[in-house]
Symmetry: C2
Subunit: 288 residues, 2 copies
Amino acid sequence: MTDPHPPRPLPVPELARLSVNQMTVKQLSLPELAKVCVELGIAHVGLWREPVQTYGVEAAARLVRDAGLTVTSLCRGGFLTATGLEERAAALADNRRAVEEAAALGTDTLVLVCGGLPPGDKDLHGARERVADALAELAPYAGQYGVKLAVEPLHPMFAADRCVVSTLAQALDLAERFPAHQVGVTVDTYHLWWDDRAPEQIARAGAAGRLHAFQLADWTTPLPAGVLNGRGQLGDGAIDLREWAGYAAAAGYTGPIEVELFNDELWARDGREVLAETARRFVEHVVR
Amino acid sequence: MTDPHPPRPLPVPELARLSVNQMTVKQLSLPELAKVCVELGIAHVGLWREPVQTYGVEAAARLVRDAGLTVTSLCRGGFLTATGLEERAAALADNRRAVEEAAALGTDTLVLVCGGLPPGDKDLHGARERVADALAELAPYAGQYGVKLAVEPLHPMFAADRCVVSTLAQALDLAERFPAHQVGVTVDTYHLWWDDRAPEQIARAGAAGRLHAFQLADWTTPLPAGVLNGRGQLGDGAIDLREWAGYAAAAGYTGPIEVELFNDELWARDGREVLAETARRFVEHVVR
């Protein structure tokens, strides 16, 4: 028999810095996510624009606030590489809305996935410059809302179709054209673990006050077709997550550590079970 | 009706530097490959160890020599990251055989794919150091045979399971511990195109006399499951191949340009047709 009224655990000290990105358990509705986080002693969530819009931004803000959760980031703005004027204007408008949504949700961090090459285009450098041009328009707008843009370098396997910013050095080169409280970077172990320059770049980000978000996922193989949903559960893969948490700590980062997994196998399982497993793995592979 | 005795074309000047890697048309036997290359005016081939071993190394050497073809490289040695003593000794022995095979085939270039992380291992740096240790044993041996080891950085998406050397800078850092005529690098557009540091590293390789092999494939998406056989036909993808050929030329590289495609769709087609298409694409996207 299952106890219909299980005791509500108190927040767990070892989970104090854990934030769960909503996409990790996209099988859960927003109310279910909030409920399970509270039950497991998880105090922070990272939210995703589309499900939040579906639920309603104000309602989502109220829901997480009432549950006592903080929102550590909103994912994601970006996709700023279009060449056409109309597409470009639409992208900028959408990113301004993303800034407003982040502010409404009570988070100061908007993660940006910058976008890939337009169809038929082969000019990575030009696309990166278009990202810089867009940031020049968006950064002051974000600043007005107290929102920091966190440019996320994605793994080089996404350079053509998702994000022309492939290394932390490139992301910082972009961010440093703007004030640190307006534009910084997202460090995600999945995207950066192979890069022997990344540790020194994390230090560079920390020293400049630009380490705005820190995300974890493990690297598992073989990669699935399309390579998007292969982000591994903590501890299942090749990344020494404790080492990377150490780089962030050495760079002065004391903020939330967000677990963001896109994984068909995890999505097919019971969401509460996945979250409980994620919390255990976080303690085992990051905290202890 | 097909002419049973088509005239044999003379070598095509625009194809003078084209080398076709055997894996591009693995549906062709070695005699078929040689015959079609001669018919199309292709003067160079890159060979692959396994099919050459099956055919017989001496017989293969005789076949390509009699066809008037030169062998531009042998792929591949490597897989040097094992931790166990026995595995390690076996890998070194196999690489010494690869050196001997390269010499027997009349090529001075052995491409090395260095190997991934051993199961359960999370130490990329340690694995890269084991590669260096292995090179220290293999480089003088290769030197005795007049064979250059060409360390190939593979795309970072292969860092865990295939090659812990992910950037040209890393490959050169390894190579520069040894004499340039013993150890250099392979530049492959598919693996490096995303890296904004690669052009300067190609210049570094050229200046040091370490640019030992230059390979082409295009980047197409979506990537297939396992991501191994997604190397795109020249011109089908996101890479400005002419630009990359220009970097090699600016670095003083005047050697063969090898097209190496692993692609299930190309393998399913008529091999002669694929080779003719590859030659046309080479002229269109690299030479003109």
